[in-house]
């Protein structure tokens, strides 16, 4: 009996101290005060480190890593993570003083600002050679690339656009034929839905409805943005787990009906090898899809800062960007890297796609997610 008492006492004591301790234990990672190194000095320092660890939301980092290894003889450990997963891991690793990634390629601007940049887990680094090349608007935080998701349809029967207005997707003729990645599975998709509930975009949606049907939109929700989301989802929208699968589902030949989806434009690259028929639409009112940035940033406690800087610089060159630029749907922040021959420049897409506004996202994303959750499940 006595022993049990002692154990109980011990337990309570330990439990109390856990809560008393709190979490203030920031370990100071290696972040040596940097002077402007010359490129050669940077290479030498990077070679001395010999290794670099990167977490990335784009799987094509693997290709760039192989080339980088060949070029500099520095080993790369590249990991492809989902956007939310990457944010959680980095905030736990850096917050807990654990050595993880040296630099990250991340997306989902609202969360990246709120959870990673604001607490100082990520630090911005613009390679000196890029300062005069990359437009100022892309420099803080440094944008690695822009990515677009557009309405893409199965073009086996005809390559003529199948819709002119997004409200058509809420009509019975498209029931069960449209696919979209689960906004819970990827932050940027939830961001897109959040953005169209903003005053600016809901006004545009409202106008598009009137243009299409010649009458006023009768609201059952807060505004035209919410209304479109609700009708879009309730029209048998098929939610997928991966844009790759969706591209296969839409593009596969021999389907009884024409299908379409809203997914990453770069999946069009699968056309030849996988025998798919995919065609994007660019003239849909009031938007043909959405566009979002992927940032490239150092972690606060990077163990291999020089290699990370070198790799970041490499990724911003035409050669380093090759794994992305050889296909459509990726746009480097470095304007001297030309877009793919079959693609259009960012300026073309900017007027047709819904962009991200980190501040608006930070404030409204949670509400929209809850709304979506309620109409979906």
């Amino acid at each position: 009996m006595k022993k049990q008492m002692i154990i109980v006492a011990l337990l309570t004591a330990t439990a109390m101290s856990v809560f008393a301790m709190g979490t203030k234990e920031g370990s100071s990672g290696a972040a040596p005060a940097e002077k402007a190194m010359t490129h050669d000095e940077l290479v030498a320092a990077a070679r001395a480190e010999g290794k670099v660890v990167v977490y990335s939301i784009t799987s094509r980092i693997a290709g760039a890593a192989t080339e980088f290894e060949k070029l500099y003889g520095i080993k790369v450990e590249a990991s492809n993570l989902k956007d939310g997963e990457l944010i959680e891991k980095v905030s736990k690793e850096v917050g807990g003083g654990i050595q993880g990634a040296d630099f990250v390629i991340c997306q989902d601007s609202g969360r990246v600002y709120g959870q990673l940049i604001a607490p100082g887990f990520l630090t911005n680094y613009v390679p000196p050679s890029m300062k005069s090349i990359i437009p100022a608007q892309y420099q803080n935080p440094l944008t690695f690339q822009l990515i677009n998701k557009v309405f893409i349809f199965n073009s086996e029967r005809s390559t003529a656009p199948v819709i002119k207005n997004v409200w058509e997707l809420t009509e019975p003729k498209w029931k069960g034929l449209v696919q979209f990645k689960d906004p819970k599975a990827e932050g940027v998709n939830a961001n897109f839905l959040t953005m169209i509930t903003s005053p600016e975009w809901s006004a545009k949606l409202d106008k598009a409805y009137q243009d299409l049907y010649g009458k006023k939109l009768a609201l059952t929700t807060k505004n035209a943005g919410y209304e479109w989301i609700k009708r879009f989802f309730q029209n048998g929208l098929v939610l997928g787990n991966s844009d790759t699968t969706i591209s296969e589902n839409i593009g596969i030949k021999g389907q009884p009906q024409t299908t379409m989806g809203l997914f990453v434009y770069s999946k069009k690259r699968f056309d030849a090898k996988k025998n798919l028929a995919l065609e994007p639409m660019t003239e849909v009112a009031p938007f043909s899809g959405f566009i979002y940035p992927a940032f490239v940033m150092l972690t606060k406690n990077a163990a291999h800062p020089a290699s990370a800087r070198l790799f970041i610089e490499y990724l911003l060159t035409a050669e380093g960007f090759k794994p992305w630029s050889k296909d459509v749907g990726s746009y480097s922040s470095n304007p001297t890297i030309p877009v793919n021959d079959d693609d259009q420049p960012v300026s073309f897409w900017a007027t047709r796609l819904v962009p991200e506004d980190p501040q608006y996202l930070f404030e409204n994303r949670a509400a929209v997610e809850e709304f979506v959750n309620n109409i979906t499940y």
Binding site: M21, G95, G110, R111, K184, E248, P323, Y377
Partner: protein, 597 residues
């Protein structure tokens, strides 16, 4: 005797030292995390500053509790519907598992069915294989065009399009979970049937009772408590299943608690997830208590055990051949066919096209190519696969070593000190992790060890954390095996060593362990196999540097790179089967000893 002397006397016995250490460390590893979890349900996490308006990180809040339990439609969709789905799916799966497992157990132990060795070996396969094996096989076969894109093998062969309810959602989840846990029920019920005293049945035969009457009035009442206890254990396993509902439920938005847990913990509101973990632990503990109560009652039945030498087999007569053939066919269907589908799926290039010209070695030995997958090379050339494989094996070996050793010591100490309060406390603490759904268990370790705590540095992302969570989670298997081994061992054997003055550790390593080698080794084997095929326990805790094969498979699958996923799955299944067979043949250890006893 003074207090000091009493303490000294107490600690002179090695098993008392072991018990004390275990009691303290297990309390630390199972109860303390619960407190940490509780705290996590009422604070604002980093990502929640977006939804809890005007709050700072670490603020106290009841926002999560309110949202999960009493916020009308939101709570309904977030919690109540998934809860109801969980209960529904688990109940039906249980029925299938017990009906099938119990039926096969009866046929193997009590009837004159043919080909028993084949059936009893192969029927266990689905339990040894990762739980999602059958789920993936189901998708390979039955996925339909409407939501799965390219149709599966079944449609390709027959031209018949499967219905949505058949391909995805509750129905396939129930079938797959039922099949996966049927071997578990088979092992538990089979053990009872095998050990049951046949004299009662024989007496009934002599008294000319009919077969049916014997079954309903004698056999069933005797095995009933075991069946009930099996029911509860299978129920709690089904409840904590993650991979199967994740694979089969998502396409039709069918959510259960574990999938919601995963979504919320990785999304904007981890607080919701921690509350769900708590709910699952409460249900699990409730099940344990009912189970203890039933087993307590069973004791009155165990007076009739004691093996009879000649069990008379029920004659299946005219049904013998058909039943034997049907069972062999069925067992092959659920254990071998899935492997064939993985092989096929991993060799095709364009999805859904099973013609010869579409075959490719790309996903096994191909070079990376950006227009398929993300430019990753085939799995046999992929350095990350080897990293994951190495991590998996390393982790499983270390976990098996730790869990097996601690389990053996637990078994030794608990049996030695049988009847004391300390022994039963340790016994219960060692069994406690069994009731915690893997994902909930991982969630509490995440909440507890992600930051610095007491003298322990933040373990997030470390190999040590994976070992810790694995070892504690699988301790119940190992301690069960250890206890069984010790119970069969007469005390005199150790006492003989004690009299001659052999030190404790030598008695353990030279006498006790060698005698019960196969039983103790079973306590190492089961954690090893479970660890090799575990997903739910690790998926929240893994970081890229220490990823294991199963989490890589899950990632490939989520990305829709099915060929890679199928290839990796085949790899995992083969490794597990080979290990199991080799260890079984070499040492006589087997997984049924760990569970059934």
């Amino acid at each position: 005797m003074t207090l000091g002397n009493r303490v000294r006397f107490f600690f002179r016995k090695p098993h008392n030292v072991i018990l004390t250490i275990l009691a303290v460390s297990l309390a630390f590893l199972t109860l303390l995390p619960l407190l940490s979890l509780l705290k996590d349900t009422v604070v604002v996490h980093p990502s929640e500053i977006m939804s809890v308006k005007g709050s700072k990180m670490g603020d106290l809040t009841f926002f999560h509790w309110k949202k999960v339990f009493s916020d009308g439609e939101t709570s309904m969709n977030l919690f109540y519907k998934p809860l109801w789905n969980t209960i529904r799916v688990s109940l039906w799966s249980c029925l299938i598992a017990i009906g099938l497992g119990g039926g096969v157990a009866w046929l193997v132990t009590r009837s004159d069915m043919r080909w028993k060795p084949f059936v009893s070996t192969v029927f266990i396969f689905p339990y040894i294989m990762p739980s999602w094996t059958l789920a993936m096989a189901w998708l390979n076969f039955f996925r339909n065009r409407l939501i799965g894109g390219a149709p599966g093998l079944f449609t390709a062969l027959t031209g018949i399009e499967t219905a949505d309810w058949f391909a995805y959602g509750a129905f396939p989840i129930v079938v797959v979970l039922g099949l996966h846990y049927a071997p578990f029920a088979y092992i538990l019920i089979g053990g009872i049937l095998r050990n049951m005293d046949a004299n009662l049945e024989e007496a009934a035969v002599i008294l000319k009772a009919g077969r049916l009457k014997i079954l309903s009035r004698i056999t069933l009442p005797i095995v009933m408590p075991a069946v009930l206890s099996t029911f509860l254990l299978v129920f709690s396993s089904c409840m904590s299943a993650f991979a199967v509902p994740a694979f089969l439920g998502t396409p039709v938005r069918f959510q259960v608690l574990t999938t919601q847990l995963y979504r919320t913990l990785n999304g904007l509101n981890p607080g919701y997830g921690y509350i769900m973990a708590l709910v699952m632990i409460v249900i699990g503990t409730g099940i344990l208590m009912i189970n203890q109560w039933i087993i307590g009652k069973r004791k009155s039945f165990t007076t009739v055990t004691g093996k009879s030498s000649n069990i008379s087999f029920a004659r299946l007569k005219a049904m013998r051949a058909p039943i034997s053939i049907a069972l062999v066919a069925f067992v092959s269907l659920i254990a071998i066919l899935p492997l064939v589908t993985f092989a096929i799926e991993s060799f095709i290039m364009a999805p859904g096209d099973y013609s010869l010209k579409n075959l490719t070695l790309q996903f096994w030995v191909g070079k990376g190519s950006e227009d398929i997958g993300g430019g990753e090379p085939g799995i046999l050339l992929n350095k990350y696969i080897y990293l994951g494989l190495w991590n998996s094996v390393k982790l499983s070996v270390v976990v098996a070593f730790v869990a097996g050793t601690v389990g053996a010591l637990t078994g030794y100490a608990v049996v030695k000190a049988r009847g004391t309060k300390l022994a039963s406390l340790v016994n219960n603490l060692a069994f406690f992790p069994y009731l915690m759904p893997s994902m909930a268990f991982a969630a509490i370790y995440l909440s507890m060890f992600a930051k610095r705590n007491l003298f322990i540095p933040s373990l997030y992302g470390s190999f040590a954390l994976l070992v810790l969570v694995g070892a504690v989670k699988y301790l119940p298997f190992a301690s069960r095996a250890g206890m069984n081994a010790m119970l069969q061992l007469s005390n005199e054997i150790e006492e003989a060593g004690l009299i001659v003055g052999i030190p404790w550790w030598k008695r353990m390593t030279r006498i006790i362990f060698p005698i019960q080698k196969s039983s103790f080794l079973s306590g190492y084997l089961l954690p090893f196999i479970s660890c090799m095929r575990e997903l739910a326990l690790f998926v929240l805790l893994i970081v890229p540097a220490n990823r294991v094969l199963t989490t890589m498979l899950f990632q490939y699958n989520e990305k829709g790179w099915n060929q890679y996923a199928n290839a990796i799955n085949l790899l995992i299944v083969l490794i597990v089967l080979v290990f199991n067979t080799v260890i079984n043949k070499a040492t006589g250890a087997s997984i049924d000893k760990g569970i059934g006893g």
